[in-house]
Symmetry: C2
């Protein structure tokens, strides 16, 4: 049985730059329960595939997990920004890529049990290349890999990022 939870109180625990953290009280079948919620402005992520079937990824150090991993180009949505505009902006900033053909691959909630982050997924094809324009504090390598090799790496457990896994798996269906 699905039970809707009504907010009865909300406490702002942390008002950060990237996340806000709330400790909310909800009413659940007449009982009180606590919900810890991380609120995030959302993001867009892109699978860019060229005419040879090569895909473009970025590798960057991720402090929360203490290592550098391969990921699809992605970034946070600016205040009021359309997710598609965000995708186009991030693909250019991180990889210097513009695309003539775009496909919406839908939204994904990264971890809806405690977080409202939604990542809007896109595929980009018919690519043109220029110099990237990264943020000042953004250090990353651009890595080109045949999509089919990326899929094999994923199956071996070597591409642990969730949005990147979904984009590679959806991309494999697109190029069949």
């Amino acid at each position: 049985m699905i039970v809707t939870e009504e907010k009865t109180n909300s406490e702002l625990i942390y008002n950060g730059h990237i996340i806000k953290v709330f400790k909310d009280e909800v009413s659940l079948e007449g009982k009180k329960a606590i919900r810890e919620v991380v609120r995030h402005k959302g993001a867009a992520a892109i699978l860019a595939i060229d005419e040879h079937g090569d895909a473009y990824f970025v590798k960057q150090f991720r402090y929360p997990i203490g290592k550098a991993i391969l990921e699809a180009p992605a970034g946070k949505i600016d205040e009021g920004e359309d997710p598609f505009d965000c995708a186009k902006r991030e693909l250019f900033e991180e990889c210097g890529i513009t695309a003539k053909k775009w496909t919406e691959l839908g939204p994904m909630f990264s971890s809806p049990g405690f977080c409202d982050e939604v990542i809007h997924l896109f595929a980009a094809q018919e690519l043109s290349f220029a110099n990237p324009d990264p943020d000042e504090d953004e250090f990353l390598d651009i890595i080109k890999i045949p999509l089919k090799e990326a899929y094999q790496s994923l199956v071996r457990g070597e591409i642990p990022d969730s949005k990147t896994q979904i984009l590679i798996l959806r991309g494999m269906d697109m190029v069949k």
Copy 2:
């Protein structure tokens, strides 16, 4: 260029039941930067497929996103618990399912830019069914859908949960 970040200070902002939130200071190319980090104990999620190609999902209200969504059975890892044991436990608690055949599908980081949560993914086949044993505060519906229909729903954008998308896409590759 990939740059490793070294922690120079760490402030515990919130020590919650499900998450811990830290505001850390790191050294990045000799400059100071702030990293907001959500730490989580990790989880396991399961794609259970029966001999007819039907898959078993749960639908439950997710307070952070304000609605009920379809998800793969999943749950948090108990202190010291092996991820595979967690997967077996959660599949039984949520769906009353035990399985003879298990396949590891690797880890996924839900959102490594600000969170260390890792979800260990598994497929379960050769299923047996009993009565579920949900947690006292867990309200969910069990929903059986042919895996191929779940894939079509995913493509239409109707299955937004990240772990569930990956499991369905990997499952489609398994049953080909």
